[in-house]
């Protein structure tokens, strides 16, 4: 990670904390643990998985003399895919990570239609697609295959509930083990379930 002009990342992070924004950054802890895990997988040559950058619509850029271009006006855009994808044992893998403070279910409002459409496409083209869901209160993370998630998503439109209950995630999904180096060791689950 490079911080141009020697500025620190914390200024942005502090602002996020103060304002409690919801621009895809609520998942900071889970996100940073997954990023660390992916880096560990990459360095140990186990898998090639990256988070996609946050999509931003750039409107104005300044070009100061003798220093880096500065974006002066830009807006957050909605992602058209899930946040993570990559390659494991020759297979395309694709997932979305969500955490919730809710103790008993994951609200479907956390996921956007675009992301759901993307999951459907990935399944249709024989990719491996899933969600990583963290329940903050319990401190537990689950891998839920996208196929099961889509059942809940579709069911909400014919009178079903607007959330995925923890019990369903536990019965249809898989608890992700924690290790010091791979804090969200989802490849262990993939080995069991898909490969």
């Amino acid at each position: 990670m490079r911080y141009p002009n020697g500025r620190k990342k914390t200024r942005y992070n502090n602002q996020l904390k103060q304002r409690k924004t919801n621009f895809g950054k609520r998942g900071m802890t889970l996100e940073s643990e997954i990023n660390e895990t992916n880096l560990y997988y990459l360095e140990t040559n186990r898998a090639v998985v990256h988070k996609k950058p946050t999509p931003v619509q750039i409107v104005q850029v300044d070009y100061p003399k003798r220093s880096a271009a500065v974006i002066r006006e830009a807006y957050f855009k909605q992602a058209s895919t899930t946040d993570y994808n990559g390659l494991y044992k020759g297979k395309y893998i694709d997932f979305e990570a969500k955490e919730t403070r809710n103790r008993t279910s994951l609200p479907l409002a956390n996921i956007h239609q675009h992301q759901v459409d993307h999951m459907k496409s990935v399944i249709e083209h024989d990719g491996i697609c899933f969600l990583i869901i963290r329940f903050n209160h319990q401190g537990e993370s689950y891998l839920l295959p996208a196929e099961h998630f889509l059942d809940f998503w579709n069911h909400q439109y014919d009178g079903g509930r607007k959330s995925v209950p923890l019990e369903s995630i536990q019965s249809k999904g898989y608890k992700i083990p924690f290790s010091l180096q791979a804090k969200v060791d989802y490849l262990k689950v993939l080995d069991q379930v898909y490969l």
Copy 2:
């Protein structure tokens, strides 16, 4: 594409033209043709391939009342992967797109070490990895398998040339056909070469 607050995209594009920046936007024409092609592939359900968003380091964000958050200070970051990846016939595909005004070769200075490292990882993990190279003068695009590109890349460090000659791209690579709907119809080449 959404333009928050009704602002038009052209302000940014015009600036780019005026300043001749090199923040990964030189490939605007090729990039937009590939994006169109990918959209066509997605809509006709042939493949799921997306361009990754430009990575940006966000430093300061304003939160005006009753309107969208505005990024007020941010910097372009170097990408740690190639620009495009996705899924075709159950296979992971990954590529970088480069265009050049040079008539006889693609300068290696156009590609960053990070991207080369990423290509190596993709090959090692059995993904399909390649470059799409457009020669603007001839108006022709080629698909060059990353394996061949890496030969040139490595050779530059033991006295080899600092560019990939067009003749080598023609002999080791494949001309990409053009069609009205798929302007850079690279899946045709993938079908022949890899699948």
